[in-house]
Symmetry: none
Amino acid sequence: MRLSVNPNDKTPIYRQLYEQIASQVLSGALQPGKALPPIRAVSRELGVSMITVRSAWDELIRDGYLVSRTGSGCFVAPISQTSRDSIRLQKLTSAVDALVADAKSLGVTKDQLCELLRERF
Amino acid sequence: MRLSVNPNDKTPIYRQLYEQIASQVLSGALQPGKALPPIRAVSRELGVSMITVRSAWDELIRDGYLVSRTGSGCFVAPISQTSRDSIRLQKLTSAVDALVADAKSLGVTKDQLCELLRERF
Amino acid sequence: MRLSVNPNDKTPIYRQLYEQIASQVLSGALQPGKALPPIRAVSRELGVSMITVRSAWDELIRDGYLVSRTGSGCFVAPISQTSRDSIRLQKLTSAVDALVADAKSLGVTKDQLCELLRERF
Amino acid sequence: MRLSVNPNDKTPIYRQLYEQIASQVLSGALQPGKALPPIRAVSRELGVSMITVRSAWDELIRDGYLVSRTGSGCFVAPISQTSRDSIRLQKLTSAVDALVADAKSLGVTKDQLCELLRERF
DNA sequence: GTGGTCTAGACCACT
DNA sequence: GTGGTCTAGACCACG
């Protein structure tokens, strides 16, 4: 489990943590059932407040990525591979849609955008 | 000149205005030298505070999209076609890079992403 | 808008607040679009920390009961009457199911339970 | 004697055990004088800590559902049928009262609630 | 030792 | 003045 925070980034720290954990769960890098390190440990290692870590964990729990068992810790929630794939596709599609909207408002054609995408990948 | 605000959107209202004006300047929909409507008119039509409109205008002036001539209003700044294209490319490139980073962290290949992009355009 | 907290209750304060607001939104006592008092005011009047109030508000926003607009306040979310009714029915049904499960495990018949319910209403 | 625990449930494990034993005593499924299996057996079969089982047993003893005889184990306490019925009624009444409060705050009438109850039983 | 809740402050961006 | 985020503690229930 690799985590890092960039305090200079404009996105809130708890959001950065959320994204990293969620990505790793969706990509399979964190397998269902795996125990996460205690909140206090994460807080100490990253140099952020426990409450900040908890905010991230709270959202991850609410959104079904983690489950918490008081007294024993937090764990990756059991999610089927198919539902993981479906969520990944959905997230990616909305990101693509946002890019397309940007491109259109800047007057860029589909082929220009595709070419640019292939260059930068 | 078409402007609209979505108060339910999480992005600040002044930022929404900024993005719309900047896009129209870059795409050529707003030609250099064209006069913008007075701040108080924009404020009234969109139902937002004059201060909010002013914030957007301030940033647009600071970033070189607009120029203000005291007593006569704000105008689209004189920007050459080549420098407009260069900025457009730069903005689009960073948007593409963000998407590529997303895709990579979700374990999506270049060809899958390109296909998805063509579908959604 | 009437709110109260019972610190002796075992349910967390932020949960008590959540339930009260959600109920009032669902019953129509709080109409869509209505502005809520500022978090600081609620905090002061109830004698609880701002963070506790914010926890409640956060969940209400996440669950679609409220919307927040930075700089201007929190408002009751626009929810149609039909979707309110559907949620009410759903909540009530699960509460009834819990009661029925209790009754069955205690060996109480349907008629006995109904009679008791009519008495206590 | 059937026991089970759901670690994903938000209610504490020891509380889940308590509720199951108490229900079975009140409904007569566990007759007064009957011996309970040793704590270590329950612990092993359910995959929970002995301390957790012990906590449940402690509360059951404190509340008069069980009695412990050092050296021979725990037994269902001698409770008269009439006092069992009285407790059952009391527990059920408070559950009904909670449901009624819910229903009232959601603006549901007595007849609507009764009908729903009959449907779901 | 673990997570769950709460307090009393603080600074920032937005309106 | 409003909400959004963050800090540095604290106490409790649970396992």
